[in-house]
């Protein structure tokens, strides 16, 4: 397997606060990595840097041959559109767009929209009958499945999920986790931030962070 993510001595400081302090690890293509640790340990900061939402203070974060730390604003925008699929704890769907349009929004910013493809993506996450519903008309689990469909629509190299089941009840959590298992089986590379050990155990590997440092690698 080829290395998809290579992180070298990654540091991120917010003023006097050191969120990441010399983190180094790599992720092979097709791996499912669980990033764990207590609140404030730097999990989300790490995900944000890998997703091009934030820039490191120093160090390297290479994703699919691109060092995110060296990209300018326009480069980061293209990087996010082409290489990353995000799934957030809060779902982050546009409230005035239907499930279908939320998926198509990612296509729109990537290149061109294809309604047929967007429909297939929603059918795949089990929302064939909820395509024209607004987020406010969907349950939490359904909204998260829309977010997963949106993350997958542009066939990203890396799926970054920040507590994707953190806001779901157990039934919906299982549905979403089953989706992630399927994605993993299909060869997608997933980096998932989670507090839950049960979810962490589903991953190929677990990376524990504490005070911005790598505490443990399993």
């Amino acid at each position: 397997m080829a290395t998809l993510v290579q992180i070298e001595n990654l540091r991120k400081e917010f003023g006097n606060v050191r969120a990441l302090d010399g983190v180094t690890f790599s992720v092979e293509s097709g791996e499912w990595i669980a990033i764990m640790g207590p609140s404030g340990s730097g999990k989300t900061t790490l995900i944000n840097i890998l997703g091009g939402l934030d820039t490191p203070t120093s160090g390297q974060a290479v994703v699919d041959g691109t060092d995110v730390a060296r990209l300018d604003e326009a480069g980061l925008t293209r990087f996010r559109a082409e290489k990353i699929g995000f799934v957030f704890q809060q779902f982050h769907l546009v409230q005035y767009l239907t499930a279908l349009e939320n998926v198509m929004l990612a296509q729109y910013f990537h290149s061109t929209t294809d309604e047929g493809e967007a429909r297939v993506a929603l059918e795949r996450v089990g929302l064939a009958d909820r395509i024209d519903h607004l987020p406010s008309e969907l349950s939490g689990g359904e909204q998260q499945r829309v977010a997963v469909a949106r993350a997958l629509i542009n066939q990203p190299k890396l799926i970054l999920a920040d507590e994707p089941t953190g806001n779901l009840d157990e039934a919906n959590e299982q549905i979403v986790l089953r989706l992630f298992r399927e994605l993993h089986t299909e060869g997608h590379t997933i980096l998932m931030v989670t507090h839950a050990h049960s979810i962490g155990e589903l991953a190929d590997r677990r990376i524990d962070l504490a005070h911005g440092r790598l505490a443990h690698k399993v």
């Binding site: 944000n48 925008t77 809060q90 982050h92 767009l97 349009e101 990612a106 729109y108």
Partner: protein, 389 residues
């Protein structure tokens, strides 16, 4: 396709807040459209009104009119003996444009009627009603410039000689006489009330100036158009008639120019003020909207949306707002202009359709200017927004 879909959804989702901005834009557009309609129509009407004040262009030989000491040169003014060959009338006729409403030569003779001196104005009687439409007439106008049997008399002359339409007057000058039927009595409210108006050949016969090379004193023209266009036409005539003095009658053209300039300045100031107020109102709405949309913009950025593509959407939204408000405002403005025209100026206003695109363009511009707060969306860091901080 997706752009239009997103735009439609954005407009629908914020209709409450956008409605406030739409009301502001519509109100601004309505007042601006009304003012512009008034401005254009009143300019046209004033120009027409000024034409009713009489001739506005005089062609004479040299300083003939100034020698008379009356630069207004109203019909009936008795000029100096400087005469012009009437062949000039042919030259003027060849240069006539559709804006020339009336044209008439003048030759004045101080004749006698019942041993009393009376000013006789020889002219083209078929033109004088058009040359000065404010004149009132008791009786009938004379519609032929060849009619040598009839005349028109001023109100004072009619009183002095006890004349009425259908009566007779005999004019004499240096032994030559003309016996004429009075077709009508003119009430001009000026010196013309003391004159007798006859066709040019009659006056020329009395003055012994008739013939193929008949003489006249000056020519008056009533020309439609703005002060500038009349001056331009005068210059054109002057260059073709170098032996003659062609000049606009200043009182009329300057008064017209001054009034129009003041009206234009007033309306322009009001339009600018309204544009500013509308922009401020849109600005306040868009500032609130920009705050509400921070989360959406953060998400769009996270999905790989460049700021230019995101702003494209928002700017299209305000453009639609400006265009819609402008269009509705224009329609309301036409009604408002009509109402203002009747109530304030006592006249109906003819809508000018070119005001529509002008107003809509201004409103789109104002809406875009009011969308300045949206540029702060460019500073949004998606990581911060998506974490809800």
């Amino acid at each position: 396709m997706m752009f239009g879909r997103l735009l439609w959804k954005m407009l629908r989702s914020n209709r409450g807040r956008l409605a406030v901005a739409l009301v502001a834009v519509t109100s601004g557009a309505a007042v601006i459209s009304a003012l512009l309609n008034l401005q254009f129509d009143i300019e046209r009407k004033l120009t027409r009104e000024f034409r009713t004040l009489g001739a506005n262009l005089v062609i004479s030989r040299g300083n003939a009119l100034q020698a008379n000491g009356d630069s207004s040169a109203t019909p009936g003014a008795f000029g100096s003996p400087t005469l012009m060959d009437q062949s000039v009338l042919g030259q003027i006729e060849r240069m006539r444009t559709p804006d020339v409403v009336a044209e008439a030569p003048f030759l004045y003779v101080v004749a006698r009627a019942a041993d009393t001196p009376v000013v006789v104005a020889g002219t083209w009687l078929d033109q004088i009603s058009k040359l000065d439409p404010t004149w009132k007439l008791g009786g009938e106008w004379i519609t032929s410039r060849e009619d040598e049997a009839q005349c028109l008399v001023g109100r004072s002359v009619a009183q002095q000689f006890n004349l009425a339409p259908g009566g007779q007057i005999e004019l004499g000058y240096l032994g030559r006489t003309a016996k004429l039927r009075v077709a009508g009595v003119i009430d001009a409210g000026g010196t013309e009330d003391n004159q007798v108006f006859v066709n040019l050949p009659v006056a020329q016969s009395l003055a012994n100036l008739r013939g193929p090379e008949g003489q006249i004193q000056f020519v008056q023209l009533s020309v439609n158009g703005t002060a500038t266009s009349i001056s331009n036409y005068a210059e054109k005539l002057a260059s073709s008639l170098p032996a003659y003095d062609v000049r606009p009658i200043r009182q009329v053209t300057e008064a017209e120019g001054n009034l129009l300039a003041h009206t234009r300045l007033l309306i322009l100031s009001m339009v600018l003020l309204i544009l500013l107020l509308t922009a401020l109102c849109v600005l306040a709405t868009m500032a609130a909207l920009a705050m509400e949309r921070r989360a959406d913009v953060g998400l769009m950025k996270a999905l790989g949306g460049s700021m230019s593509r995101i702003l494209e959407l928002f700017l299209a939204e305000v453009s639609v707002l400006g265009a819609a408000g402008g269009l509705i405002g224009c329609v309301v403005g036409v009604a408002l202009a009509e109402w203002m025209g009747r109530r304030v100026f006592g006249t109906s206003i003819t809508p000018r359709w070119d005001v529509f695109p002008l107003t809509i363009a201004m409103m789109v511009g104002v809406a875009l200017a009011g969308a300045l707060p949206l540029r702060f969306l460019g500073k949004i860091r998606p990581a911060v927004i998506l974490r809800g901080k």
